[in-house]
């Protein structure tokens, strides 16, 4: 039970599915050291099996009585997808480009597939990171007590000195956001970019999100957008609240989309292109009310009335979307002045007690 809890709100009405977040995270953390197959941040097209494939059916989290549910540990080969390589060096020699591993499943395999009968098709994008839950399923599942929440921000981390690579955390996480690193023989997961947070920078996925969908701040910061979206307007909802882990990533659910068409091609007013029931199955009971609030405030804005909610969701200044320290603007400058950023002492060397070697230098 951390003293403070940092949280993220993602506005699904603004998500364009570009995956800049995914790639930002990849180059920041997971393109090396046994993490290659992992996507700490992924974006999936809903409805769809997601990543890892069918994660929503893989158990974990807590049942209605509050007891940890059994879960499964996904397979890299058939659920995550083995990160395939190419014979890039052979193209110059006249070879055709070929993937060196079978192309059967991948982290974005179901992109844009969606559901519905054309022209009444529907889809939307759902970016996912570790939810840094208040009652983490992974933490509860770990028989080693290796998983903890940081006091200062509630970020959930895996202590590699304690982790034995047992993978019960993976089964215990209902979002399947803990990954096993076969090279380290340890579990790893999204760390909410805490080394960036410590330097006043938002997580890479959030800062680099070009759709400007991600707000980062502390839940108890009553002036912050995160607090207002979650508590004041109640338009930001956790994903699968029924899993019982109290996620700290919140989503503004997507509005139902353009009208559907009748058999003659005539638009049907107020038709739910994205079925509300489906949205409720993802974001819980508050979905209907949240969408009503967004619609109502949007209408107010359209009629020229002020709307704090619309102001927040529009986000006039990118830097203002992140309230991770008292003076975020000033701290953001750190990155622009590299010397200042490096002035604070960085640890000389990673201390690891693993039986396998850890290298921290990017290998690509």
């Amino acid at each position: 039970m951390s003293k403070r809890q940092i949280a993220m709100v993602m506005d699904l009405n603004k998500c364009i599915g570009c995956q800049t977040c995914t790639v930002s995270c990849k180059t920041q953390w997971t393109n090396r050291n046994g993490r290659e197959y992992m996507y700490w941040n992924n974006v999936e097209t809903k409805p769809g099996p997601g990543y890892p494939k069918q994660w929503e059916t893989m158990g974990g989290g807590f049942d209605e009585q509050g007891n940890l549910r059994e879960g499964v540990v996904p397979s890299r080969t058939s659920d995550y997808g083995t990160p395939w390589d190419y014979n890039l060096e052979d193209i110059k020699s006249g070879e055709l480009l070929e993937a060196q591993q079978p192309l059967k499943v991948g982290p974005n395999w179901d992109e844009d597939q969606g559901a519905g009968d054309f022209p009444n098709s529907y889809a939307f994008y759902l970016p996912r990171i570790c939810n840094h839950c208040s009652s983490p399923g992974c933490l509860a599942a770990c028989p080693r007590g290796a998983i903890f929440k940081r006091d200062q921000d509630g970020i959930v981390l895996i202590d590699h000195e304690r982790c034995e690579g047992l993978r019960y955390c993976i089964a215990g996480c209902p979002y399947k956001k803990v990954y096993f690193n076969p090279k380290l023989y340890k579990s790893e997961k999204c760390i909410f970019c805490f080394p960036r947070i410590e330097k006043g920078l938002p997580p890479a996925c959030a800062q680099q999100c070009v759709g400007r969908i991600r707000f980062v701040g502390y839940l108890d910061d009553v002036e912050g957008q995160v607090h207002k979206l979650v508590y004041k307007y109640k338009v930001a909802l956790p994903l699968h609240p029924e899993m019982g882990t109290q996620p700290n990533v919140y989503y503004v659910p997507p509005l139902p989309g353009p009208p559907k068409f009748d058999a003659n091609g005539k638009p049907i007013p107020n038709s739910e292109r994205i079925p509300i029931n489906y949205l409720e199955s993802l974001f819980g009971e508050g979905t209907r009310e949240a969408l009503k609030v967004v619609e109502a405030e949007k209408e107010k804005r359209k009629n020229g009335q002020p709307s704090e909610l619309m102001d927040i969701l529009i986000a006039y200044k990118h830097a203002d979307m992140f309230r991770i320290s008292d003076t975020p603007q000033q701290l953001l400058q750190i990155e622009k002045r590299p010397k200042a950023a490096m002035a604070s002492p960085a640890p000389k060397k990673a201390a690891t007690t693993t039986t396998t070697t850890t290298t921290t230098t990017p290998t690509r």
């Binding site: 509050g66 059994e70 208040s134 096993f180």
Partner: protein, 397 residues
Amino acid sequence: MKMHSTLLALAIHAGAAASPATDRFLAADGIVVGSAPAVPATVDDAGWASAMATSVVVAPQSTVTLNDKGANAFRQSPAPGNVVVRAIASPTELGVLLEWDDATENRFVGETDSYGDSAAIEMPVAFGAGQRLPYIGMGDAGSHVVVHMVRAMDQGKVTTRHAVAAGFGSLTAAPLGWMKTGMAWQPKTKRWRALFVRPLKAPEHSVDAAIVPIAFALWDGARDQRGGNKVLSAWHVLRLPGRAPDATYVAELAFGYGDGDVGDAARGQAMVEAICLSCHRIGAKGYSPPDLAPELTNVGVLSSYSYLRDSVMTPSAALVPNLNVNRHQDRTKPKDDNGAHAHGSLGAFAVNDGSGTAQSVMPGFGAMPKEQVADIVAYLKTLGRAPSSPPSPGATP
């Protein structure tokens, strides 16, 4: 810690007297350690033929249930029933060779759902007269264990882990590099062999004694076994050659083998079902939610008589360590500011009484008539899967 610290002392105490109880105990739980000028250095060394093979029953850990659906599904079907143990002591070293059946050679191949076959031995940090045995599941707060583990890795490699532990979740890496290990697959017989060789005396830990408690654990990668999903033995004792056992200690260990130590299992069963099953479960039997108290399905195979007796009478002295108390939320309590549920009492076998000492949540039955306790112990000791086949001595190396 009681130590037979010099070779000189060993010679003096050789040839102590025995009783029927201790004989029965040593026959049941003793492993005779052979003597040789040097411990054979590899699993395939012909020198192991000189050691007596002892078949030790192993049963699935069922006290607590872990949350891997796949692994739990495998638990429903029979698991390996025994491990053949050979041990040889040289003047300076002790070697223990384990050998067990396994239908498949499973190595960790770098996949997320790949688990290597593994084996481990555990020994108490301290043992001897007056020192109770640690809880079989990696010790407890009052009695620590050292654990050595080998795991089959990709491309014929083996990983070794050395650790100390004081109960579930407490495994702590220890730099016990003096332990030499080996692990090899025998394709013809479909058996694994694992070897542990250590100095009799090491700066941190010595086993230079006539009676050395030891327990064994095996993991089958094909059944997704790792961590607490394993099969294990009860405490056994290595009987090192040329040393006289401490009679007091042996007598303590031999409780349960003496006449009158235990009572009538049938009467015990009735009592267990009337009393214990309100909290404990034995497979499908029981009235409580799972995890409220240790599951008893294999308690007879995994526990000694004395442990069972102590558990009934003075549970706080024979604690089963908590697994992870966060596995159960108490939804009757309000959430904290960040929406976190308080963890519930379900799953906490022990609670801190405020003085820093853990107290079992189970009420002690110290006031229960001794005969009834003996009946209960008798019944509990029958719980567990009998070996599916007669102990197999295994092929001679």
